[in-house]
């Protein structure tokens, strides 16, 4: 038995995508396969017209992705009748649609994730115009079908619905291509679909960006605050630029509300800039909306790097927006992992440019995402208090940390998958698993996974740790040892190891092993394990403990098993 059965995320290998359709999707496959940007995709088409067999008996690997793009009248023949002005019973429509969603539900076990495109009909299908949205009108029926599809797929953890209507315009359906190649759409549709699909795959892989660093002058407001003063900035009011920048701030705030951290990197006098953020009556974003700031005259690239470090994020999580092309070029050159979008000079395009960016797309939004900004604020208080208290140990004891251990269950599964796929630094094996793969891995009774929630007197950091064990007759392996950077260095790591050792001691096991799989980013994990007290076998990159020897839980941390205190 070995813990080597992990799927290491590899940025150089193309991900396989299985295209399933009742029409020719080869053009989409070509767009995807010939786009060398990450994530690289190798697309393969199932024979078209074989949607149900291709879903239920695919020639694919469980680590492959699938895209299912169908015509509504073929999956739901009753809808085809409706298009032909034959009266149809809505129950028949829903029954036919149910067969499709049942099939998708069953197909989940064959794929890492399945993307389903919502149904559309051509603009030229006018459906008698005035009657299209009336009872039994085709457009009304299609709206209902898409809604039913979305609702039924809600319970499928690894099936994601993509909005096909977003890719359509009046020229999207091409009768000529249909008659020539059985491809219904103009290539522009597939080009747009390929972009959204890659963003969706990236989101499922947990690679979405988490921190947006913005400039101030001529980005958040019009004018240079140091020159004109906060009272004369262009923001809001009866001014088209001011209104556009107000909308841009609202768009930033909406990103913040779903867990994207905001930060400032601006060449300004800090006091003057903060006064503007605090006092300007139309300002949407106030100082508390920013997780961190660097308002000074230093190099912007250095400031962006410092902001990422302060917030414990890798540079690959960062986006930088600046109106000055020289600053953009500087950050791009110095920090190639940071995404620096080309930014329009026209301020009326700021909000729409931001809203079109795909790098913040997430597969799911968990409670932890929604409260991230609050958690960062409490972390700031925590750091301030650390500066006031003497030794690190003294400070940790004063935090009144509580760690709650819970077995993996339906309620925490989404967050577990998210943490597995997002965490880089404190991650022993860097396994990237879909919900289905995780469930399959946990099937044998000798595999266990626990989650760790962390709170202290400053606030709740939420579910931030994962430990999984594969247990043999004498030896147990730590397969996953994952801790969010948000709580690193607060002795939660030691709680997790102590918990594993105590569990193995209770089972009378001889050895507890942890194999370290190095990546470019998980050196902090290695450093922790080197200090953990486990012996280290360098040749095998393996850490070893003999559970008959008690492993001490760290002092001053209360550990609870679900809601009950554990005796330690």
């Amino acid at each position: 038995m070995s813990s080597a059965n992990h799927l290491q995320a590899d940025r150089s290998t193309a991900l396989k995508l299985y295209l399933i359709s009742d029409f020719n999707l080869e053009t989409l496959g070509n767009y995807l396969s010939n786009d060398s940007t990450w994530p690289q995709v190798a697309a393969a088409s199932a024979p078209f017209g074989q949607v149900f067999p291709a879903l239920l008996h695919p020639h694919s690997d469980p680590s492959d992705f699938a895209l299912v793009w169908t015509s509504p009248e073929k999956v739901v023949p009753a809808f085809g009748d409706n298009l032909n002005n034959v009266e149809v019973d809505e129950d028949r429509v829903l029954a036919e649609l149910g067969e499709f969603t049942n099939c998708l539900q069953q197909a989940q076990r064959h794929f890492r994730a399945i993307f389903v495109v919502s149904w559309t009909i051509p603009a030229y299908e006018r459906g008698n115009n005035l009657l299209g949205l009336r009872r039994s009108g085709p457009r009304r029926l299609l709206l209902k079908m898409n809604l039913a599809l979305a609702e039924k797929l809600e319970s499928c953890a690894s099936v994601y619905l993509l909005d096909g209507q977003r890719w359509m315009d009046e020229n999207s359906y091409s009768p000529k291509l249909w008659y020539l190649t059985k491809t219904p759409f103009h290539p522009a549709v597939f080009s747009r679909a390929a972009g959204d699909l890659k963003a969706a795959i990236s989101a499922v892989l947990g690679a979405s960006r988490k921190l947006l660093v913005v400039d101030l002058d001529n980005v958040l407001w019009g004018g240079a605050v140091g020159d004109v003063g906060w009272e004369d900035l262009r923001l809001g009011g009866h001014d088209y630029v001011g209104e556009a920048l107000l909308d841009f701030q609202k768009a930033l705030k909406s990103l913040r509300n779903r867990g994207i951290l905001l930060a400032i990197a601006s060449k300004n006098d800090e006091g003057i800039a903060m006064e503007a953020l605090t006092k300007h009556p139309q300002m949407v974003l106030r100082p508390d909306d920013f997780a961190a700031t660097r308002i000074n005259w230093n190099d912007k690239a250095a400031n962006v790097a410092e902001l990422a470090e302060e917030l414990n994020l890798g540079l690959q999580s960062v986006v930088f927006i600046d109106d000055n092309p020289i600053e953009r070029a500087r950050v791009r050159e110095a920090l190639p992992e940071v995404y620096v979008p080309e930014w329009p000079a026209d301020k009326t395009l700021f909000a729409s440019t931001l809203l079109q960016m795909v790098c913040f797309d997430a597969a799911n939004i968990t409670a932890e995402d929604a409260s991230r900004q609050q958690m960062v604020a409490t972390d700031r208080h925590r750091k301030l208090s650390r500066q006031m208290v003497g030794s690190a140990e003294e400070w940790l004891l004063s935090c009144q940390t509580v760690v709650t251990v819970e077995e993996q269950c339906d309620a925490n599964r989404e967050r577990v998958v998210q943490l597995l796929n997002k965490t880089n630094q404190m991650n022993l094996a860097t396994r990237r698993l879909s919900t289905q793969e995780l469930q399959a891995w946990l099937q044998p009774a000798n595999r266990k996974l626990w989650t760790f929630k962390v709170s202290d007197k400053f606030g709740d950091s939420g579910l931030t740790g994962i430990l999984s064990l594969e247990i043999g007759s004498e030896i147990a392996w730590i397969t996953d040892f994952v801790l969010s950077c948000r709580v690193m260095g607060r002795n939660v790591e030691s709680v997790m190891v102590a918990f594993a050792a105590q569990h193995c001691a209770g089972l009378g096991l001889q050895e507890l092993r942890a194999d370290y799989f190095p990546t470019a980013k998980n050196k902090p994990c290695f450093r922790f394990w080197m200090s953990s007290g486990f012996s280290y076998d360098e040749g095998k990159n393996r850490f070893l403990w003999f559970p008959r020897q008690p492993y001490q839980f760290p002092r001053g941390i209360e550990v609870r098993l679900q809601s009950l205190p554990v005796s330690i």
């Binding site: 010939n34 000529k176 291509l177 103009h186 290539p187 080009s191």
Partner: protein
């Protein structure tokens, strides 16, 4: 004999704008093609026939992209699949140049009043 002879100097500007639209269509098409199958933006690049790199799907996609772009830029609906387009000796899809000549000719005939 070539049905689409090189056009006169008077029609040069029109020919250039048609060629520009065809090159833009090639640029769009190339995004869906692997490196080795991408079509060169040169008058002598072969679109169909011996030495051509496009398969039938690629050619069909090129046709609808070019028709759309010609409509957007010239305001004319042009059906590129008329007039025996794939004839080995006279078809307008032999090269980019033959296609540009064909389209320019069509545009001239549709837009100019006979003397």
């Amino acid at each position: 004999m070539d049905r689409y002879l090189p056009i006169s100097v008077d029609d040069g500007a029109e020919h250039d704008s048609v060629l520009k639209v065809i090159y833009e269509s090639i640029s769009d098409l190339n995004f869906q093609l692997p490196q080795e199958q991408r079509v060169e933006k040169s008058p002598h690049a072969v679109l169909f026939g011996a030495g051509g790199k496009l398969d039938s799907l690629g050619l069909a996609n090129f046709i609808v992209i070019a028709e759309q772009k010609l409509h957007d830029s010239l305001g004319l609906r042009i059906n590129l699949t008329e007039d025996d387009p794939f004839s080995p000796n006279t078809g307008h899809f032999r090269t980019i140049e033959s296609l540009a000549n064909y389209v320019s000719d069509l545009v001239s005939r549709r837009t100019k009043v006979p003397q």
